[in-house]
């Protein structure tokens, strides 16, 4: 029998705010344990939360970008559960009057556009962190409440995805939107973007959904993709052998790449939601929404379309460049300096991203500004330096922060475009490689590539390859 996979994703993104959801404590990642807390986020009795207005605005940006209906009045609710990472024994969340409902996100898989429904977008607070001591003999768990109360956005999708590939496209598009609108920095390794997947299978063409398995502990997008593929196989095997898949919560085991059931007692879901009496409702006026709209930059999908239509970028390039807003901005600023867009894209996707990956840094940390990159590209396109020297100069710019022209001058890297000067080098190379010359004269064109390579070596990349080729042709009497 043929089966189809049915996937829904719950996404948690930490808001890019300075302070917490309900108090003024910092939200910095990696601070020493329990140094960013106060009586409010410690959950001490008698304290009162006050809503961070900016977090609500960031939530509104997300709800608008995901084309949700925005609630005219939204309200917080208490989600009750007993776990040591939650100092109040309830999480302030939203259940009855979510910030946004009934939205949608357009994704593209294999060139096909698909729409994924968004059930709701709501605001909540993050929990603390449990640290299990490395010493396995230790019989305690340590709690760090720095993260408790960090503003959190939850986005619940409809079960509209049918493959791991679609889930992957959804996660990437969502992350691109959250980054573009400066809603979240989406650093999965720091836990500021997290996913939970609801996965079921059913016979193709079936109308009823299969029993849903919820998978937690997914710490990267690739873990989500692998967990979906694993669950699909596991659930199909259960059905094929005549069994039924129980509805349950499973944990993804990163090392073994399998899902494991959670202890059943802990998954007994009875959150007993009720309106949070400590917080008054939030009214979202049309004027406020207009203000939020004005703060929103262009969405990634629109930006990609514009890059393809107006700047003639290939769709692949547009996809890579738009994935991160700072890179897309950098690209646009480089193009504004008069660089041909595809050339700018090649440099950014090649050299710039290589350096960013090597240094594990962000584009804003790079000492090479878009005008500086534009100058360098100009030197290459004007044949003042070769492409390979250009790459060396770029590396130099990244470490010294100097301008391309200065480096070329200082190191004498200007391309040899003077035929007299280059002719001497070409003659020497031809004399040193009689075999290659013989090959070339007998019509083997690849010998010419070899000779040009030797000329580049002799000039440390400074020879103008076009001129070198012409000189070879002339001097070999071809």
């Amino acid at each position: 029998m043929q089966y189809e996979t049915v996937i829904g994703l719950e996404t948690h993104a930490q808001f890019h705010t300075r302070s917490k959801m309900f108090c003024g404590c910092k939200t910095d990642f990696g601070a020493p344990p329990n140094t960013q807390t106060c009586p409010v986020c410690q959950g001490l009795p008698g304290t009162l939360p006050v809503v961070n207005r900016y977090a609500v605005e960031l939530g509104l940006r997300a709800a608008l970008a995901l084309r949700c209906h925005i609630a005219p009045v939204t309200q917080f609710d208490r989600k009750n559960y007993f776990y040591p990472d939650l100092p109040k024994n309830y999480q302030v969340s939203q259940n009855y009057h979510n910030l946004g409902v009934d939205g949608r996100l357009e994704i593209e898989v294999d060139g096909q556009a698909r729409e994924v429904g968004i059930w709701n977008v709501h605001l909540e607070e993050d929990a603390g962190k449990l640290e299990h001591p490395e010493d396995t003999g230790a019989n305690y768990t340590a709690i760090d409440l720095n993260r408790a109360g960090t503003p959190l956005l939850e986005i619940v999708s409809a079960p509209d995805m049918r493959s791991a590939g679609e889930a992957n496209a959804y996660m990437n598009e969502l992350a691109a939107i959250l980054r573009h609108l400066d809603i979240s920095d989406c650093k999965m390794q720091e836990g500021s973007l997290r996913f939970e997947a609801g996965i079921s299978v059913r016979p193709v063409g079936g109308e009823k959904f299969g029993n849903r398995v919820e998978v937690k502990n997914l710490n990267s997008m690739s873990a989500v993709v692998k967990a979906i593929e694993h669950e699909r196989e596991r659930q199909v095997a259960v059905l094929e052998s005549g069994g039924t898949v129980p509805s349950q919560t499973m944990l993804w085991d990163v090392q073994r790449e399998v899902t494991e059931p959670m202890r059943s007692k802990e998954e007994a879901k009875d959150y007993r939601y009720f309106p949070e009496p400590d917080l008054v409702p939030i009214e979202i006026s049309p004027e406020w929404l207009d203000q939020v709209r004005e703060q929103m930059s262009e969405l990634p999908a629109a930006r990609r379309k514009r890059f393809i239509a107006e700047l003639d970028l290939p769709p692949y390039d547009a996809g890579v460049i738009v994935e991160q807003k700072p890179i897309a901005d950098y690209f646009e600023q480089t193009v504004e300096q008069g660089v041909e867009p595809k050339t700018a894209a090649n440099w950014i996707m090649g050299e710039v991203m290589r350096v960013l990956n090597e240094r594990l840094c962000e584009i804003d940390d790079l000492p090479v500004s878009p005008p500086m990159l534009a100058e360098l590209i100009g030197l290459v396109t004007d044949d003042r330096i070769s492409n390979s020297v250009g790459k060396t100069v770029f590396g130099e710019m990244c470490s010294s922060g100097k301008k391309a022209g200065e480096i070329v001058e200082e190191k004498g890297l200007a391309q040899i475009s003077d035929s007299g000067e280059l002719e001497a080098v070409v003659k020497q190379v031809l004399a040193d490689n009689p075999d290659a010359v013989a090959d070339l004269e007998s019509g083997k064109q690849q010998a010419k590539g070899f000779l040009i390579g030797q000329i580049m070596r002799a000039t440390r990349g400074k020879a103008n390859p076009k001129l070198a080729g012409e000189l070879i042709d002339r001097l070999t009497g071809d």
Binding site: P39, N52, Y54
Partner: protein, 98 residues
């Protein structure tokens, strides 16, 4: 008619991580049943056409700006903890999976 059965009390106790003796279960069953009974009085009111009230106070949009304020020192934060390490609260081992 009992509104609260001992099964319900057991379930609530379980969610609250409380272990109750049989006598306690029976005692709480009776007490909770009475409490819920008081709410039946409210149910006798006809609320047809009345919007559910989100909050008893007639206040809206109470916000703070996204500004950082001083946090408590770690020493103060951990001062009331019954058990702690040098830097964190200490609780009995939490097992997340079987």
């Amino acid at each position: 008619m009992t509104r609260i059965t001992t099964d319900t009390v057991e379930q609530v106790a379980d969610l609250s991580k409380l272990i109750l003796s049989d006598e306690e279960l029976a005692g709480f069953q009776e007490q909770l049943d009475k409490i819920i009974g008081y709410f039946e009085v409210l149910n006798s009111l006809d609320t047809t056409g009345v919007e559910p009230l989100a909050h008893p106070l007639d206040l809206r949009n109470v916000f703070r700006q996204d500004t950082v304020e001083d946090s408590a020192s770690r020493k103060d934060a951990l001062a009331n903890a019954p058990d702690k390490t040098d830097e964190a609260y200490k609780v009995p081992v939490v097992i997340e999976s079987s």
